[in-house]
Symmetry: C2
Subunit: 459 residues, 2 copies
């Protein structure tokens, strides 16, 4: 069994599948692309939506200690003075004195410009925030930054949320949104890009209980990936060393995933202490105190921050789902995506394009679309069509054949096992509903209309 051993997939294969099937395209590709920006195509946008929705459902809807928020990308510049980003969010760069190109000092091997061989300046610090001007005049007073993280939108709204929801500690605020960093070094497909999306939680707790909550969230977030199908062997926790801790962090663990380029950060869970609220209280002059009804104390809460990358999650789920199986003379490429993440839940495949068959199949297609993203495919052989669905991770195919016209039954074919079962059309939606929830079915042979559902373990 290789299931328990870490397994790396080839990046080129994933990128090629993404490009070929419409998961992810280079941004503005007709103009030669825009450095490390990516567009999510028809399948990619569904996968990404499903990941974000699964996160929101598990982190906000199903919990009794979490609320959501959606702050704007442009924030008051003082936010970044308070957060430390204006001073601290910098990379050391050197500039070539002849061609004026700039390089990250720690990326350079020699003392001269890699481009033209010219002499380099001393290293200087450059801020990684994207800067723009609000209003008609481009002057210092109108500078605003694109947020380099969604977290600050939560901190500045702490009192607003407290006052309007009357929450008591411990509780969290969750947010999904874009952030921007003018990184010098990007790459590894969608792993590191200048425009990216985050799923962040800021969980407010009473000081002294922070270690306990820190441990809780590390466990909780790790389990979230595993529940959605990531193999545990491909995930690893890594504690930050004292010297690499960010200025705001008392402690930090990365959840690392075995990406094609090696173990890399998928999510970071930090104990930010009271750093952020103290800073914002000091810069804004507004109180960030919390009043504890029971102990009658005023204090500034500590914050535990599980911060996940949406695009990195997309890449991790794709890599982990990617599989190749020998299949007669060919290789069967498939994505073992969790049913709740699969872009298309069901594909309806009529065995022929003849009108009578197509009529039945299209009716089924229309019915199922009321429940899920469903696709319809009537091109080429049924074997090829199964392969096409396997490759994009569609958990179930529904095949409509000539027999269906007589017995009003269709075949459900499962992606992972390639098992086929025959079910009455009238029961199809219910059966798929159960199967997509991970319940297993025992269906009596054709003609029998009785079927039974049993929940699979860990389903």
């Amino acid at each position: 069994m290789t299931e328990q051993a870490p397994k790396k997939v080839d990046m080129e294969k994933v990128v090629s599948l993404c490009r070929r099937r419409g998961f992810i395209f280079p941004s503005s590709e007709i103009y030669g692309g825009l450095s490390s920006c990516w567009d999510y195509g028809p399948l990619g946008v569904e996968l990404k939506r499903n990941i974000k929705d699964a996160w929101w459902r598990a982190m906000v809807q199903e919990r009794d200690d979490m609320v959501g928020l959606d702050a704007s990308i442009m924030m008051h510049p003082q936010t970044w003075a308070a957060s430390g980003h204006l001073e601290g969010f910098v990379d050391p760069l050197v500039e070539c004195k002849s061609c004026h190109r700039r390089w990250r000092s720690d990326d350079l091997e020699g003392d001269n410009c890699p481009s033209c061989g010219g002499e380099l300046t001393e290293s200087r610090l450059f801020n990684l925030m994207f800067k723009t001007f609000m209003g008609p005049v481009e002057e210092e007073a109108s500078v605003v930054y694109l947020r380099p993280e969604t977290a600050q939108g939560i901190f500045v709204n702490f009192q607003n949320v407290l006052n309007t929801t009357r929450r008591r500690l411990p509780f969290g605020i969750a947010q999904v949104g874009k952030a921007f960093r003018n990184e010098i070094t990007t790459g590894n497909f969608i792993f590191r890009s200048r425009e990216f999306e985050q799923m962040e939680i800021e969980f407010f707790v009473k000081p002294g209980t922070d270690q306990e909550w820190f441990n809780y969230w590390i466990e909780e977030r790790l389990n979230w990936y595993v529940k959605l199908g990531i193999k545990r062997a491909n995930l690893k926790l890594r504690q930050h060393g004292k010297e690499e801790l960010a200025h705001y962090a008392r402690d930090c663990y990365d959840i690392n995933y075995l990406f094609p380029m090696g173990w890399s950060e998928l999510e970071g869970i930090a104990n930010r202490g009271d750093f952020d609220l103290v800073q914002h209280a000091s810069f804004s002059g507004k109180s960030m105190d919390y009043f504890d009804d029971e102990t009658k104390e005023h204090f500034i809460p500590y914050i535990i921050e599980p911060s996940a990358g949406v695009d990195r999650s997309v890449l991790a789920f794709l890599c982990d789902a990617y599989d190749e199986e020998p299949d007669e003379d060919e290789i069967r490429v498939l994505l073992h995506l969790h049913p709740s993440l699969a872009p298309i839940k069901v594909a309806v495949l009529p065995l022929s394009r003849r009108e009578k068959l197509a009529g039945v199949a299209k009716q089924i297609y229309a019915d199922l679309r009321q429940c899920w993203m469903v696709s319809y495919d009537d091109a080429q052989s049924i074997g090829r069509r199964y392969r096409r669905q396997d490759e994009i991770g569609t958990p179930f195919c529904v095949t409509v054949d000539f027999q269906s016209l007589e017995d009003e039954q269709v075949t459900i074919r499962e992606r992972d096992t390639m098992n086929q079962i025959r079910v009455p059309i009238s029961e199809l939606k219910k059966i798929l509903q159960a199967k997509l929830k991970g319940e297993s079915l025992f269906v009596l042979p054709p003609g029998g209309m009785i079927w039974k559902v049993e929940r699979e373990e860990g389903g």
Copy 2:
């Protein structure tokens, strides 16, 4: 009956409700706010999510002629040369020669600076796109713009989508995402801000069929708002005059809503002809042709564009739902939000905080959270709690009382009618499921466990 007459609500009342209950806060409020940027609080983020999800469901999932896309906010600068935004997306401004502030020429009444009375320059054109620099060097070569509309991300991906999905005309590409415009004049709460979100469809059709599809989409989009509860009398179609048509449009209708400040654009539906694809073909040198299998013709499709504002939709749904009813000595404020849009679907209200009752209520709360956003409220009188839920548009309250401990039944109270029915706890989820879908129920009196569901008209 006033139902059929257009009815305007007071903006201040809506803004105050949004602020008070946590729908919408001014961005970076602790720093004095950032001009016309807004943060969606715990209830606002749910309302906005529900609107976007309802749009995606109706426009993508349920249709057989639409796919989704999610392009990046930063695009290759040539995109904006091709689209006409670099040259044409401008406002005429004048500058004061003494204080150097700038003003929209058409906003000015006199010949002098409204600020200091100084002399004004001739009017000059300023581009409304936000500009920033990608990479470490701030120079002309590294300028990128924040997209002023999501549409162009679809046009540049037309061939990518065509090739990977093998779609035939007519078909559409749908996208939800942020766009940015450095407007000089903003205001009316979230109606016009510099950072906003769009829900755009670009629907590709064969030239000659465009008028028919243009009419179809005007009707389709109008109906979408009505189905989700906007009163028809508060919506109006307005055709653009020849002289006000944008440079890319052959024809355009606005769907106007009766906002508090008067009739204003909620959505625009434009017949863009082949303008965009021709421009991008010419600027990129890439073919934007479509090959028609049946007629063996190559041609560039025409595009019908229904373009809706997410934030404007939020405002319209809030305004339309806002209502005040006399209620004894007080006024009952309520939001008649469509159940699928309501931020919270069900509130669980134990009649007392005593442990036995709270135990039952919390179990119900935990069960229902598996299905929906649910809230729990045990503070103050039951009448006050009903009012709090009415005010945020919660369609159903579930009240747990001492009788519940004996008969295992609870009371469901409806927001709009204030009707109450008593139902078995074991059937609660099923009954709420049906009610949230707009099905009406006939429940036998307490003790009877049989209930019947009948779909309401137009539900």
